[in-house]
């Protein structure tokens, strides 16, 4: 239609004209919002328009048009081209401009992800998604909807180190609760893959204790992994939930993970044979949950736990005795285990190979070095920032109307004698 073509031309002209500063950009955004339907109908013919625009300068306009282009269903051969064009756009776009239209940006990134998965080459999507996260975030403490997708791509493409680097950031704001659940769950899996069990435990703990009005399937799966990682890393599992867990989680999570709790019971006996028996019984459940690998690690961590317990009783012990107590087959195996534990820093010991004796030592850290001072200083700075945030949150919560309402109601019941100026019934 001639009419629509001319309006599209005027659109391009507008984009060219209004892309210089933030005031004009907001104007442009409003205009583009109005043209959204138009763009959608003309999606097939918009491709040549993209060549007229420079993605780094006219990012907002380019974004809208690109989004409309890609909304149509695409065939497999075109998928490659799409991936390339979207990736290129993400690399060069201007961050402030795309932040004005986050939903559009998120949708094209999700489409990118879909296409790379269809092409069965998830690694192609890792770098663009990382750039897109950094551009979309207003600060490193914000969790965007793209984070869990990025984590998923890292998992599928086995690029764990990049995932870990993103996991280093502390999260303070979350856009959608589902993002947090997925992000922490995938993040936990990445950490397990890299054997960073402490961080994995922290992330899975977040999923399990996050506020949820009704039980979420992600939390159920996370809880199962949480039990296993807790056994591997801490050697025990506390079945009581901390008080900030939602009541929905407290009541229901245990029902879904009966076999895992049985494993916990057998682990606490301290005998490897018991644990192996339990694993045999529930092998199918573990298998269907894709947790068999973790369960095997639980069994091997049993030996570690027992050797660690020995350090608390003995100062020196022969390798033969260790093998007997921990139910290993030979002193050679015991030596291997102890050596591995020393390397990983789980225990401090020296092995005398001449007479096969192991001497258990104390932690040699004297806390006298300058590096320790730097570490402490860094931790103190971190905790100061956290403390400031917590106090502001506390104040905000104290003024929250739903909180004040509930507190006001309770007071009325019990304080007959005292006269409080706080209104006893608080209606909003």
């Amino acid at each position: 239609m001639n009419l629509s073509m001319s309006s599209v031309e005027s659109l391009v002209a507008q984009i060219h004209g209004l892309s210089s500063n933030i005031g004009e950009l907001t104007q442009l955004r409003n205009y583009l919002k109005q043209c959204d339907d138009l763009l959608r109908t003309e999606s097939t013919r918009l491709a040549p328009l993209l060549t007229e625009l420079d993605p780094s300068v006219h990012s907002l306009g380019y974004l809208y048009i690109l989004e409309a282009c890609t909304s149509a269903p695409i065939s497999k051969d075109q998928a490659n081209k799409l991936v390339l064009s979207v990736a290129r756009f993400i690399n060069v776009c201007a961050a402030e401009q795309i932040r004005l239209a986050p939903e559009k940006f998120i949708s094209i990134c999700k489409r990118l992800m879909l296409q790379v998965m269809l092409l069965e080459d998830p690694m192609r999507g890792v770098a663009p998604l990382l750039t897109s996260i950094r551009k979309l975030q207003s600060s490193t403490e914000q969790l965007t909807t793209l984070h869990p997708d990025f984590m998923l791509l890292c998992l599928l493409s086995k690029c764990y180190k990049i995932g870990l680097s993103v996991l280093e950031d502390d999260i303070f704001e979350v856009d959608l609760p589902r993002d947090l659940f997925l992000y922490c769950y995938y993040g936990g899996m990445i950490c397990i893959g890299q054997k960073q069990f402490r961080k994995a435990l922290e992330l899975l703990h977040n999923v399990v204790t996050a506020p949820m009005p009704i039980i979420s399937a992600i939390a159920v799966e996370a809880y199962k992994k949480y039990i296993l990682v807790s056994l591997i890393h801490l050697g025990q599992f506390a079945t009581s939930f901390p008080k900030y867990t939602s009541s929905a989680a407290q009541r229901n999570l245990k029902n879904f993970s009966q076999s895992y709790l049985e494993l916990v019971n057998s682990y606490s006996t301290g005998k490897v044979s018991e644990v192996e028996k339990c694993v045999e019984i529930y092998k199918d459940t573990f298998g269907s949950d894709n947790n068999l690998g973790l369960v095997k690690q639980v069994v091997s961590s049993m030996y570690k736990r027992n050797i660690q317990r020995l350090t608390q009783t003995y100062l020196t012990l022969s390798l033969q005795d260790i093998a007997n107590t921990v139910q290993l087959n030979s002193p050679k195996e015991a030596e291997m285990h102890v050596l591995q534990m020393i390397q990983e820093g789980d225990i401090y010991a020296t092995i005398n190979q001449k007479d096969g004796m192991v001497r258990f030592l104390e932690d040699p850290e004297q806390y006298k070095t300058c590096e320790m001072i730097e570490r402490l200083d860094f931790s103190i700075q971190r905790i100061m920032r956290l403390s400031k945030k917590l106090t502001t949150m506390n104040e905000v919560m104290s003024c929250d109307p739903s909180y004040l309402g509930k507190v006001g109601k309770e007071r009325q019941r019990f304080d007959y004698d005292d006269f409080y100026t706080v209104p006893s019934k608080f209606t909003i």
Partner: protein, 296 residues
């Protein structure tokens, strides 16, 4: 009235005396309106050295400017029993300067000790003053206007301490914070002391640095003696350089940092706890069901 003494006696004053006098004055001041307090000082005189060890209070009649002799004798007897080698060396009083009327008391003590000393404590608190507000006066016979008269002359003195006195004075000096009992305030006071000491050192070093820079630029004429002093000071640094010192220093530094860290942790945990409680009350519908616990 105060010129330097020519008797050639050296005076040694123990801190116990100063503490006693100030205590006496403070007690009287808190009970009734502030007035002069009078007492006796006792000690030992060996040759030319007069060492004042202790003191006790006396009853003093302001109107007649006389001391209660009976009381004085009784007290003297008691003290002689406990400290046989001490005898009355003189008397003390509070005030800003020696009065004419003090001479009367001074003369009345002359029958016990032919050359008594007069210890005067100035109870007004002067923050600018650097030394102790204690002066020791002797009496000398001077010829004024043809009449031989006894007047007070100031003598210099030194402070002498025994081990026990040093410990107690140290204790008193450091328990300055008003409640002073809890470890937290003591730690805070200790760290504040160190902080102000370092700050002062820093400012002084900065003054020197600024001065030297100005000298280098030529704004101030060169002063070789000062430069020599600065150079000798610098050559003496670092004052302590040994591995043992480094170890101990770093360990103490780390301990302080760990204490701070622990304190912040506790603080954060308590804020977090409150926040979680508030969140649970506000948003978790089921947590308060059946929670009709008695509010204390």
């Amino acid at each position: 009235m105060a010129s330097s003494s020519s008797s050639g006696l050296t005076f040694k004053l123990h801190p116990l005396v100063i503490v006693n006098i100030s205590d006496h004055f403070t007690r009287v001041k808190s009970q009734s309106h502030p007035r002069r307090v009078v007492g006796c000082v006792i000690g030992v005189q060996r040759g030319r050295t007069v060492e004042i060890f202790n003191s006790f209070e006396l009853l003093y009649d302001d109107s007649t400017h006389s001391l209660d002799r009976a009381f004085l004798e009784k007290k003297q007897e008691l003290y002689k029993k406990v400290f046989p080698q001490f005898y009355i060396l003189g008397w003390y009083s509070t005030g800003s300067d020696a009065h004419e009327t003090d001479m009367i008391i001074h003369k009345s003590l002359m029958d016990i000790n032919e050359n008594p000393v007069y210890v005067l404590l100035n109870p007004s608190i002067n923050p600018a003053q650097k030394d102790l507000p204690v002066t020791i006066y002797e009496s000398e016979l001077h010829v004024i206007d043809g009449n031989p008269q006894l007047i007070f002359v100031q003598s210099s003195y030194t402070i002498e301490t025994v081990e026990a006195e040093r410990i107690s004075v140290d204790h008193v000096a450091h328990l300055k914070p008003s409640d002073g009992g809890s470890a937290a305030t003591q730690l805070a006071a200790h760290l504040t002391g160190i902080h102000s000491a370092i700050k002062m050192l820093n400012s002084r070093v900065r003054v020197l640095h600024h001065y030297l820079l100005a000298m280098q630029k030529g704004e101030i004429p060169l002063e070789n003696s000062l430069l020599r002093q600065v150079s000798s000071l610098l050559r003496r640094l670092p004052a302590i350089e040994s591995e043992k010192f480094q170890d101990d220093f770093l360990m103490e530094y780390n301990d302080t940092l760990l204490i701070t860290y622990l304190a912040m942790f506790t603080n954060c945990s308590s804020t977090m706890n409150e926040l979680v409680d508030k969140f649970n009350t506000a948003y978790d519908r089921h947590s308060r069901r059946g929670g009709r616990t008695g509010f204390i």
